[in-house]
Symmetry: C2
């Protein structure tokens, strides 16, 4: 018997993967949480039926959401990750020597527990004894309403803008992010596919531009996500992430996608994406 799982990425398009086994399936207070083992992508985290990350390609998303903004800041000491329950982003954040405190606020404790058990390669830094980590299970939106002038870098590692992630894609949230950042801070958010979510990207880009003097969109190729091309948007109070002096970036990060050339080239946008942001 062959098991295939299909994620309908749009109403009219699906990615279908042959599955070896379902390792976990359960319902949290927020969403349906599953881990499946696939032939092509290895173990995958699936939330509300949507592929979130896989052992095969997770390095791309996690390296790109963490290192691009962190190397855009000259000395990030205090970093916050909102979401990111699988731990992959934190794993990359704590590689930075300058980082003293890596806070993480994830709404769904079940995602953390399941990732620790079934995705140890990804979740390895989610260890209570990790000297830099402050892990809190809680509401990232609420947390953002309560802090001020605290973070050098904020990373919004959220799921799609439906379900628990919805409130993370609003102007009100970005105002709180702005207040929570130090005067030279910056933040990044995953902002979906430039092929299939153009209206969303345009709106977020405008919202962020209305609050931050520097707004930049960058791209990474992620086979698990719709269209294989994913974008991230940075709002920055001072530093321009597209103008980083890459000679200062160490070549010993152990990354498999990110490198000095990518730090520059990820900001080079195809004509249709440039058009989208006008």
């Amino acid at each position: 018997m062959e098991l295939w799982y299909t994620e309908y990425q749009t109403r009219n398009l699906g990615l279908t993967a042959r599955i070896k086994a379902t390792l976990f399936s359960g319902q949290s207070d927020y969403q349906e949480v599953a881990v499946v083992d696939s032939h092509e992508f290895g173990r995958m985290l699936v939330l509300d039926g949507v592929f979130q990350t896989s052992v095969f390609d997770e390095f791309i998303y996690h390296e790109m959401i963490a290192h691009v903004p962190l190397f855009a800041h000259p000395d990030p000491k205090t970093v916050l990750v909102i979401g990111g329950g699988d731990g992959g982003t934190i794993r990359e954040v704590v590689k930075h020597q300058s980082v003293e405190v890596a806070e993480m606020v994830e709404i769904d404790g079940l995602v953390v527990d399941v990732s620790k058990k079934y995705l140890p390669e990804i979740s390895q830094a989610l260890n209570e004894n990790h000297p830099k980590l402050r892990l809190k299970i809680g509401d990232g939106i609420k947390h953002m309403q309560e802090v001020e002038n605290k973070y050098d870098v904020i990373i919004v590692d959220c799921s799609d803008p439906i379900g628990p992630g919805e409130g993370l894609f609003t102007h009100a949230f970005y105002q709180n992010v702005h207040r929570a950042l130090k005067p030279d801070g910056l933040f990044v958010q995953q902002t979906e596919s430039p092929f299939y979510h153009q209206e969303l990207i345009r709106r977020l880009y405008q919202d962020i531009t209305s609050l931050f003097p520097v707004t930049r969109l960058y791209l990474a190729s992620i086979p698990l996500y719709p269209g294989g091309l994913h974008c991230f948007t940075i709002g920055s109070k001072q530093y321009d992430p597209a103008e980083v002096d890459v000679t200062g970036i160490p070549e010993t990060l152990g990354t498999r996608y990110y490198n000095r050339e990518i730090q520059k080239s990820c900001f080079a946008l195809p004509a249709f994406v440039q058009e989208l942001l006008k």
Copy 2:
């Protein structure tokens, strides 16, 4: 009733698209040729069950296979396209003012006929009266054995390395390409997905490096193809396509993906692709 067509990109992975109608289906001497109309990608050419191109995203492949090598050459006058029966590559080639003759050798006349009828946006330059075009229905491999010192740029716009395209991925073919090029000529070939065809890419890169002083691989994001990331390999006798002075590139090409920044950034390779070529 909902119709879905699934292309199995690997043994364990499929892309499934909702279909409005099958516009054409037939068997040529070489392959099964079909045109389907899909909700997400519009009309698509399908050869032996594999999605070749779509009205939605064809601009990316055709702009990137044509403009990157053509702008790497300072004065391309005589250009050959092998394959490319849908006409999209020729459409981009003839945009170059320097190009005087654009030859095309496509093995399958049915692909040309079907593209003219069902994909006019793509095939628009495949017009018998086009002043630059020399279209020949014939075997590109045989043609390469018969010419010498003729072309400035050769574009190998082939399908996958199984079926009629197989002989286009061999060392013997590259030797003939080398001989067919002028002393400062260069060629490009589509060379599949860096996620799913790593052994092929490595072998071709070595083959081309053994014949050409300059070998470069570049990338483009194409949602219709496996992993959404596609690579192209250039063998060049003299010019380095990664070192083009992009200020000379006109901004009036009407491209939707390619631009000056992309001409540079497409050669910036993720760490795992760099590793592959070592």
